[in-house]
């Protein structure tokens, strides 16, 4: 590497660390602990989903058939591409490529926003089809199963799980917006790329949640 143009000129090491690699690894371990509780949070939802699916397989199949598989597949691709641009952002920060870093990180935010917009249209479609559990529950295509009311349970789980996932994406986009401002002020670079990498961990984790949600909700 020639001359550093982004971030601090020298690695900044807090006084309680001896070396920069030691500092970096503490960041990584702390982030993985945070993600461990996130795994347990979504794990509880997935467990509840699995138990009810085992209990009411017909209602689950009928509920899943109401979802738009093409939209789900398209949104999965959008999220995967955003994961790629996020990983590339870390690479561009490490290798001191300012324009590519800003472009790649911007694309990550754009793809995240596209995902949420598509999700909003999908929720609206469920509303028009009378598939909102509770007082508005009035399916235009009632399922031909023994107890059609059980399909409500599927949509309760659907809205909680995809809603919590979308909420995590909104939080991610807010953090990304703050990071983008810092990025434009050239706060990150080869000597300070850990914030970009740690945000990437969060973003990839949200992608992993969708990797399981997509087949379990749309494809069963």
């Amino acid at each position: 590497m020639t001359s550093v143009t982004m971030g601090p000129a020298e690695p900044v090491i807090p006084h309680h660390f001896e070396t920069k690699p030691q500092h970096n690894e503490c960041n990584i371990l702390g982030m993985w602990l945070f993600l461990a509780q996130e795994i347990m949070f979504f794990g509880g939802l997935f467990t509840a989903y699995a138990v009810y699916r085992f209990k009411y397989p017909d209602a689950w199949e009928a509920g899943s058939a109401e979802l738009n598989r093409a939209i789900g597949t398209g949104n999965t691709i959008v999220l995967l591409v955003s994961s790629l641009t996020m990983a590339l952002s870390v690479y561009f920060a490490q290798t001191d490529q300012f324009k590519k870093l800003v472009a790649s990180f911007s694309l990550t935010m754009v793809f995240g926003a596209i995902f949420l917009i598509v999700k909003a249209f999908e929720y609206h479609e469920k509303y028009t089809h009378g598939l909102i559990p509770g007082a508005w529950w009035d399916p235009i295509h009632p399922p031909e199963i023994d107890d059609p009311s059980k399909m409500q349970l599927f949509f309760i789980m659907y809205f909680i799980m995809t809603g919590m996932h979308a909420f995590h994406m909104v939080i991610g986009l807010i953090i990304a917006a703050v990071m983008m401002i810092m990025m434009l002020k050239r706060k990150f670079g080869p000597n300070k790329y850990m914030p970009v990498e740690m945000f990437g961990f969060y973003w990839h984790f949200v992608d992993i949640v969708w990797v399981f949600l997509f087949p379990m909700v749309y494809l069963i």
């Binding site: 690894e25 990584i28 993985w32 690479y91 087949p215």
Partner: protein, 111 residues
């Protein structure tokens, strides 16, 4: 505590993305096939493969220290403990909770 941080070439990220995308389309294709009760396990196995690709290569765990491997694995291990015990509980004693509903013969508290 650890060695110098590893910079992964961008081509590795691109290859990893292609592998995950292929696995994603494989998931969609498998969903259209009729493997009976095996459909869900197959879909979950492919999802686990995609997760491994993301964790190992996008999150760079492959190039991290053994301590990081332990921390990264801990969350997934705790999740397996949780879902494992709950599923065992549900399959062994699930009927007790169902039958304890009003109007049905309860298995709880009945000698």
């Amino acid at each position: 505590m650890s060695e110098e941080h590893h910079i992964v070439p961008w081509k590795n990220y691109a290859i990893n993305f292609c592998v995950i995308t292929v696995l994603m389309f494989l998931t969609v294709w498998v969903a259209d096939q009729d493997y009976g009760v095996m459909n869900l396990p197959i879909a979950l196995i492919i999802a686990i493969m995609k997760t491994l690709c993301i964790v190992l290569f996008f999150m760079n765990v492959k190039y991290s220290s053994h301590l990081t491997w332990v921390f990264a694995g801990a969350g997934f291990f705790w999740f397996l403990i949780m879902i494992g015990f709950i599923i065992v509980d549900f399959t062994e004693f699930g009927g007790m909770y169902t039958n304890s509903l009003p109007g049905s013969q309860s298995a709880i508290g009945v000698p």
